[in-house]
Amino acid sequence: MGQTSQPVPGGRPNPVRRISGGRVITVTSGKGGVGKTTTTANLGIALARLDKKVVLIDTDIGLRNLDVVMGLENRIVYDLVDVVEGRCKLRQAMIKHKQFPELYLIPAAQTRDKTAVSPADMVQICNALRPEFDYILIDSPAGIERGFRNAIAPADEVLIVTNPEVSAVRDADRIIGLIEAENKGPGKLILNRLKNDMVRRGEMLSPADVTDILAISIIGIVPEDETVVPASNNGIPVTLNESSKAGVAFRNIARRLNGENIPLMQVETSGNLFQRIARIFSGG
């Protein structure tokens, strides 16, 4: 309460954050299996393709996956817990990507659990990385416990990944509430695995249905795409596949993060003339 202290510009709750340098963006979801890791890997590569310096951090300690999806599993020597516990320097745990020299991964430890790292450790690591990188992307574990809090603590921005199904949207809503409680803003939504034809038939939630509940803005819609799974299995994220629809979607999200104004993918909900008339009469 010192009266001599300067007011913090914009009323930012934590003036320590936002030291000059890169943006810390956390990718989270609440529910598991909606595509957090795939999204983190693809956004990392898409940003690296835009000549950005990017570091990815896997905070899913005990269930690490990001290294596999990035195809860097066999290069791991040190991990996040080794850094936190002082067994190595931060630099030593950073694995350089095979193709992009400005893209790095800090893998999670596999033999420990989430309690091996604290939110304060994450803030400290991210602050150490900020001066050197444009983007620090954090892959959050599923759930709302310690791992989630670790992932969210250093975030400047949060991306919430969800699928167009009710259970995933419920969990996203829970997560958004927790993010708001941490003063990390409402976050932006990535709607993953949307099937256009199912939306058109009214069998899947549309982007409008999802935003109706969540009331936050969508930064990207990623269509269901069969090339995603084999790409992840082979450690070559789908963003590198020029003809993949999901790849295009991830590249667009990266460009939007970078400040470009790119319209969202339009879901064709109108159908043909006959279907539209039928829908008017059925009240849909």
Binding site: M1, D173, R174, E180, I213, A215
Partner: protein
Amino acid sequence: MQEDTVAIKGIKDGLLITLSSTAEWPTITGDLAARIDEQGAFFQGATVTVEFGERPVSKHELSSLKALLDRRGMTLSVVLSDSATTLNAADALDVRTSTAAYTPGRTPNETLAKTPDAINPEEEGTEGVLIRRTVRNGRTVHSQGHVVILGDVNPGAEVVAGGDVIVWGKLRGNVHAGANGDETAVVCALDMTPTQLRIASYITTSPPGKRRRAKPEMAVVRDHQIIVEAWKE
């Protein structure tokens, strides 16, 4: 400067102590103790209403203030504040609360005394809380009074009120009005599709199927069941 940080005056049911909402907390408590001690045992046994204005007072600070009064034989009985933090702290310490605008002890002495028998134009009103955001999945709102929410109540959220619940938005979570047994409590929403709606000991769910169009509705208990009707005067 002492005069500005602490003001003590007599009201109908004891003492009203008004504390500056801007001065440093240690200054205020110091000044208050000094002011009371100046009077010797004069205030002993007094019931005290403390007005904090907009200052957020933590539970710890409030409990130390309560102890300060206790040591001098005075009882902290009511906390008047415009800050939710202070009101919560008072709740936690089981001290009666009120917002500063509504000061039951003071009004009769100061205003009504000058206009005897005049019809009081002031609506009596009752206490409530206002939540100015969407209540999301997993969040809860509990109040002994009414609850007004400017935003949606999403599925998985829970609102429990001793009085009425008004949702200026979509009501899709669980809501319980009249939770202490008040069957006259109502629930109003711009779009009434709660997961579960309770009034006093009655319980209902939204009818299945898609709604055609959202419209403001009000739920009340009538003939021992909850009915939902269009919201009009």
